[in-house]
């Protein structure tokens, strides 16, 4: 049997940067994933948006640190992870949404975020070709951005392995081993490994992993579809989020949808169906492209001519209030949840990894304490974030 300090279940958006943080702190870490290589779960389905401009304090704090890591990565380590500081823009296409966004901006400013509400004219300047009809302005947070999920997590993986973290792929965790209500290791389909901490970073499978230690996490995966186009010359800076609900009797209603142009000119887009699609099905549907195309072409007619290359579908492990579940549990010592990222695992990962590292090392700061309180499994799940 091999001994580790920490075993992380899942080599994805959360598990990989957490392993990196732990390895950098000299903690002997093993990551186990049933898939054949790093970031093959839902990390590669993420579209790559990274923002700190949430409306919930802990998410803001975590993502601010993530942004720091993403934006300085190339400078510090040399890997091009396709980081672009393009900003985010939530556009308002009704009076009601203008009011909602203005209100949110005020709260976000209070948290010290760089965000403002722009009028329709300024938005037109920011988003070339946006349909001015019914445009009521929108928010702009210039310090948010985007990066390639695959390249980023691979860079974290390289860094983690260089610093001694071990990864086992094609290996499935079958049980979390405990002794006297304390974690002692994991059993996979291939071997047993000993450790005093187990971090559940299993994304869409987080509920099943938690069950191994009789912990019930209120987590229900739902799926969103996304797509990517050919590359065209760079023209669009921010991630554009349209929160106007969409009605479509044929292809289904939708909530918001969003898109941005990545460093190599491709437009990546994603939609939130209404009602949401529960479950773990990741197969492509025929309704996605007609549904989102109509909305995108309506918002930005010139996108009519860009060619779609590929579509896919990924999971959003949702919690009742849209806020992650991170931290220790009451009945089993050494077991740590890092689940329920609600589709934001990629942007939360690097910041959260450091919090988790400090949690393991028992070095949590007062800010960490605050974060872990808001992300606690034992919070009241009744309230929802203002603008998810």
């Amino acid at each position: 049997m091999t001994f580790y300090d920490v075993i992380i279940v899942g080599a994805g958006s959360i598990g990989t940067p957490t392993a990196m943080a732990l390895a950098n702190a000299g903690v002997k870490t093993l990551v186990v994933d049933k898939l054949p290589s790093v970031a093959q779960g839902d990390n590669k389905h993420a579209i790559g948006g990274i923002r700190a401009t949430h409306s919930q304090k802990s998410k803001i704090l975590v993502c601010q640190r993530s942004l720091e890591i993403f934006s300085t990565w190339e400078e510090l380590y040399g890997d091009d992870i396709w980081w672009v500081e393009g900003g985010y823009s939530f556009v308002a296409r009704s009076v009601e949404h203008e009011r909602l966004l203005r209100e949110t901006v005020e709260i976000q400013k209070e948290y010290g975020l760089n965000i403002s509400f722009l009028d329709a004219e300024q938005i037109q300047e920011l988003i070339p070709g946006i349909n001015p009809i019914g445009l009521h302005g929108g928010t702009y947070s210039p310090e948010d951005g985007n990066a390639s999920p695959l390249y980023s997590v691979h860079a974290f993986y390289d860094n983690a392995t260089r610093n001694g973290a071990e990864f086992k792929f094609k290996e499935q965790v079958k049980n979390i081993l405990t002794k006297n209500r304390h974690v002692v290791g994991v059993r996979t389909d291939k071997a047993d490994y000993q450790a005093s901490f187990v971090i559940n970073a299993a994304g869409g499978n987080g509920k099943e992993i938690a069950k191994m230690v009789d912990v019930n996490v209120p987590l229900e995966p739902e799926s969103h579809e996304a797509g990517i186009t050919e590359g065209v010359k760079y023209f669009l800076r921010p991630m554009v989020v349209d929160i106007q609900p969409g009605t479509d009797p044929t292809f289904g209603n939708s909530k918001n949808y969003y898109f941005y142009q990545n460093k190599f000119g491709k437009i990546i887009f994603c939609i939130t169906p209404n009602p949401s699609v529960k479950g773990k099905d990741r197969t492509e549907t025929s309704f996605f492209l007609p549904q989102i195309a109509k909305r995108m072409v309506d918002l930005m007619p010139r996108l009519s001519n860009i060619k779609v290359r590929r579509q896919w579908r990924g999971l959003y492990p949702m919690t009742p209030d849209g806020i992650p579940i991170v931290g220790t549990v009451k009945n089993i010592a050494g077991y740590i949840n890092a689940v329920g990222m609600c589709g934001q695992g990629f942007m939360l990962g690097p910041g959260l990894g450091e919090v988790l590292c400090r949690l393991v090392e028992k070095k949590i700061t007062s800010q960490d304490k605050e974060i872990l309180k808001e992300f606690s499994l034992y919070r009241d799940f009744g309230s929802e974030e203002k603008l998810k």
Binding site: P36, V232, F251, P290, A293, S304, V308
Partner: protein, 698 residues
Amino acid sequence: MKDIQEHPILTIPERKKISFTFNGVPLMGYEGIVISSNLFLNGIKIFGHHEKDNSPQGIFCCMGQCSQCMVLVNGQAMKSCMTPLKEGMQIESCEGLPELPARDSPRETQQIEILKVNTLIIGAGPSGLSAAKTLGEKGVEILLIDDKDRVGGKLVLQTHKFFGSQEDVYAGKRGIEIADILGDQVKILESVRIWLNSTAVGLFSDGFVGILKDHDTYVLVKPENLLIATGAREKMLVFPGNTLPGVYGAGAFQVLVNRDLVKPAEQVFIVGGGNVGLIAGYHAIQAGIEVIGLIEALPQCGGYKVHEEKLRRLGVPIYTSYTIVSANGKNRVESITIGKIDENWMLIPGTERTYKCDTILIAVGLNPVDEFYTKAKEYGYSVWICGDAQEIAEASAAIFTGRIEAIKILNKMGVDISDCDELTYLEQKATIMKTHPPSPTEFACPDKEEGIFPVFHCTQEIPCNPCTTVCPQGQIHTINDAIDKLPYFKGEKECIGCGACVAVCPGLAITLVDYRRDPQNPHVTFPMELTEEKIKKGSTIIVASEDGNLGKYDVIHSRILPQFPKTHLVTVQLPANIAKLATAIKLVPKKQTTIEPIDLYKSERIEDDEIVCRCERVTAATVRMWIRKGVKDFNELKGLTRVGMGSCQGKTCIPIIMRIFRDEGVPIDEVTENTIRPLYMEVPLGTFAGVKREDENT
């Protein structure tokens, strides 16, 4: 303009000349044919430069599957091989990433049509058509789609006569004729709807197939049964210079030459001695293009002996146990370097030779287009597969497998199939058609030297028998009347010298020897199809045997049989000692050319410029580096290098990379397969919103 003015087989249509510009230069072209062919007509072969390394881009697949041929049409990036030329088009080369035009006026959108059909057949080539016929004759409601503007698949590009049996697969007819016959049989069926210019672009888990109809309208079709008849795509090779404009597949070449009647090259070199390569060489010569040589890595050509002989006789040097060392040239192919390989496939140093040429055709085999089938199986469709998509073989086999799968569909639907052929019988026949023929045998020269009779220079057991069915005397048989045995003349009844067997033979491998007038100098009749001009009595031609030229002789008689309008039957008088050995005749070349190697290409070569993924410009060295670092998951390799993430969606590079894995000693069963997702071809976003393609773009 570099168009084909005369062709021995194809009729040159009247084409309307129109004007357009390329990078501001006014040019003339033909209306209706695609932009890429019109650019070739004007000698333009570089269509732009890649955004990553500024490498020149041009024609590659010629069927809308990649994006190498992208140009800007009135400001909008479009695939030139799929976009017909219109009067006044302003075309520009695509330099780096294209700009998305600022066309910001709101678009009118229409509802996307949703359709339910009983059976959807994807692909109207030989197998799809034959399946549609079998199903349609039973009244099954069928939607048959094809991405081309006519039915027939690759048959429409084939000017040569096909092998097989006459009654089942129209052997002895040319591919272009078989396409018409099969098409006509299907077009009269009431229950069959045919959508041309319509591509299946996605197959989804909810049972819908997304079809781009008429190039611009998106339709979702939900079939109860799905038949995949999508054919094959060409394999590509990795060698230095492999993406230079001027290196492309034999299929693209046939599109340019035989469909659009463009003369895309002056001098071609062919890589690959299978039937595709050999036939491409023959097509080139028909189009008046010089074939500098053909190389085959194996010790013998894999294609039919008769195809090889046709080329050899025309003076094309065929080098076996040779490989391509590099394609050379600055912006386009200027020469090819080849070299001999040993039994371990290693280049023998010092054997490299360089030949001047402007085009290199890659014909190293085909891969089935079976991703729709794989996906349909995964998503639980009621799905079948036929033709080359099922297994690479001749068109004759595809016609059988189409029928077989159609009968299986009928059976599943509960339709009475008692009047259809037995499946086991059809499967036997299909197996014969698929079987690769054995090596050729020695020519068996008949002893007889009197009267008149056919001589069969057919020495390879190809499944083929049209000679047996055309003989009005019923005297030609194959051994044991088996289609895959060699033919012989029975002689129970006299040969009447009609020449039908000479004219019908797809291998041009039958002569007629007549001793009746002059036993010392018999009359020998040969087939000849490489010229349009009438061969007159008294003109001089060259007579050849398998071993070389036998000398020049005068034509004493020439005729064309009405049922074989493109094949001349040319009679010469030959001395008795060579009469039966003579296999073919050819025209005396207008100018005698000898093909000599030139100095080795000296220009400095960038290390590792062998491109694996042409869309994302990933080199073989990069892929090898990651594989050596332990990457075994194709999806990880995609993330790391971008291979397979480009516009062709990995159609070209996936097989190449699997080969690199194998070469690097990674067992293929340890490699995690690449995840394939829709779309199968890039489609404008607006199309999914029901936006009609705007006039300003086209």
